[in-house]
């Protein structure tokens, strides 16, 4: 791999843009196709499919077999609520390879002392979330238990195609949330995207266990085909 190509690849990945490296494994020749240039590429069809499925692999082309290394942005976790669970969730998610961002307007919660090494935005969701460009590679959780903060955050997430949306709260709390959100104009189908009660049902009690249950559910949503997940 030429150093220039590797440098461009790393730049594209840092900017969270899908990129494909096309390698002729017989000759070793290689080229990089940026996500934005796929539509104009001679291999457009296979490249689009590769980005859609995020799967690398060998493909047959007119000029023989080539290997596609597909790089899609690493998953990101946006956490609303700098709460106790988040103190376990953020480092665990980072270890699983997520870029983690925490949003909480309450500065007493959103402090560096409580969250070393995590990107924290101490703003209201309306201000903090739009610049994050929440995308389909993003998992989104609302953990404050406070409708003033969680509701606008969830409304923002539901307007986007993030692959997972979860909200903390009991069935009762969630039922009230569903009522508020639908009365606020969201469709039932849209609100049904929220995983609540949040996390896999593993009997989690401590904040770290709840974080584990949440990450288990997010991983399931990310990796299992929809019909395989409950």
């Amino acid at each position: 791999m030429k150093l220039d190509l590797l440098k461009t690849l790393n730049e594209e990945r840092a900017a969270r843009r899908a990129t494909i490296v096309v390698t002729d494994v017989t000759t070793g020749t290689q080229r990089l196709v940026k996500g934005a240039d796929v539509a104009a590429d001679p291999l457009k069809d296979v490249l689009q499919e590769a980005i859609r499925t995020a799967k690398s692999g060998m493909v047959e082309t007119q000029d023989g077999k080539v290997f596609l290394t597909v790089y899609v942005p690493s998953p990101r976790l946006v956490i609303t609520g700098a709460v106790h669970i988040s103190q376990a969730l953020a480092p665990m998610a980072a270890m699983l390879g997520y870029d983690v961002v925490i949003v909480d307007p309450r500065t007493a919660f959103a402090s560096i002392e409580r969250f070393p090494d995590v990107k924290i935005i101490a703003e209201w969701p309306d201000e903090a979330l739009p610049p994050l460009n929440v995308d389909k590679y993003t998992a989104f959780v609302a953990l404050t238990h406070d409708p003033k903060i969680d509701d606008p955050a969830l409304q923002h997430a539901l307007a986007r195609d993030c692959f997972y949306i979860g909200a903390l709260g009991s069935r009762k709390t969630h039922a009230r949330r569903v009522t508020r959100l639908t009365e606020g104009g969201l469709s039932e189908a849209s609100v049904a995207r929220i995983h609540a009660p949040i996390g896999l049902p593993i009997g989690a009690i401590s904040p770290a266990e709840i974080a584990l249950a949440i990450l288990g559910e997010i991983t399931q949503r990310l990796r299992q085909k929809p019909e395989a997940a409950k």
Partner: protein, 107 residues
Amino acid sequence: MLARDEDILTAAEEWSKAGRGVALATVVETWGSAPRPVGSNLVIDREGNFLGSVSGGCVEGAVVTEAIDVIESGKSKMLEFGVADDTAWKVGLSCGGTIRVFVEKVG
């Protein structure tokens, strides 16, 4: 800290810029059960330092040895590993799968 995919490629770039002599190994095909999916990367330098993985640790040693050769010659190689046996390679995958690994020089 665990090596993420970006870290591996960032390391490849940094190591190469630092003149360490670098190769990149990529899993290009798998048959049967294989521990790491197609597209997984391992970066290796001339001294045999490496980051990432192409298997569960079963064949990394052999890939590193081949990679050092690729760094010296500049010629890319395709390696294939099957079930552990005495033929072809002295190492193999205990899980019973087969993998092909493309090794190329960086820079």
